[in-house]
Symmetry: C2
Subunit: 190 residues, 2 copies
Amino acid sequence: MELLKERIRKDGKVRSGNVLKVDSFLNHQMDITLFEEIGKEFKRRFSDCSITKILTIESSGIGIACIAAQSFGVPVVFAKKNTTKNIDGAVFSAQIESFTHGRVYNVVVAREYLSPNDNILIIDDFLANGKALIGLEQIVKKSGASLAGAGIVIEKGFQNGGKELREAGMRIESLAVIKSMSEDGKIEFE
Amino acid sequence: MELLKERIRKDGKVRSGNVLKVDSFLNHQMDITLFEEIGKEFKRRFSDCSITKILTIESSGIGIACIAAQSFGVPVVFAKKNTTKNIDGAVFSAQIESFTHGRVYNVVVAREYLSPNDNILIIDDFLANGKALIGLEQIVKKSGASLAGAGIVIEKGFQNGGKELREAGMRIESLAVIKSMSEDGKIEFE
């Protein structure tokens, strides 16, 4: 998606430890006009699928998932990173290791919001080592729902998550795949 | 907003400890069609203000804020509950006591996303004791931006947050204000 790649080249900042900072438009400040184009592109790529629900994970996937949901005409469910007293009853859960936060956490989705009748599209902002996707896929499997695939805004192609998950059979559509990036600000796409 | 009140009456569940569970359409599963109507209603109520940016707080405010932002034609910034290695540099911060989670946490917004030129609309899903709004107002004040007001989806009118903040001069537009609720499921609106 050229518009997105241009924006990453213009406003993305490379930090040490293979961190790509896109806080100014994607996951702290959010450019909703760009999100609308991202949503339309996900719909175009998954136009062959009858999606019934979008699944994402808090927090930075939520905005993109909600805007994309308008193109699909479906509700969004977001996996929560902690059980709170507002989620009672049974949940589907998985453990996810966070690259950004450097720790393992539990994510949960209330059982009532995923069912064997659902065909799920996962949406997230980043794909790097794939741990979040693996956790969300586990939750979908536990629910008995079908998984149509995953729509990712930025994939770090130089990490192995996307490659391993595609080889395992997951359909992944990434709108920008980074081949390499360096701290002098140079970002190359596949 | 009658559509919202009907939905709360139909799908809201009252739990012990004055918890109103609206997980099925507002803050776990999200009904995007309803969010669009909520966004239009916020725009109608704040049509006299030239909003430049919407400020919300992770996680459950993000979806509503993003959809509402389409009506206002502005970007969204969400306050983060933990500093991560993806937020470097200086931040505006505040401490907020969470009713839902029963603990105090730090929230931050990167300095570059709020400026004295901004006229901010805060959007959040719930207003109860007002702690989140107070924290977000502190962040806006620290940035030098103007605060146009706060748009709230559900206000618990039987708690004091909204009353105290309005008396202190904050403009608050709540789309559904709950007068009372009981565990047999009865919900009354103001």
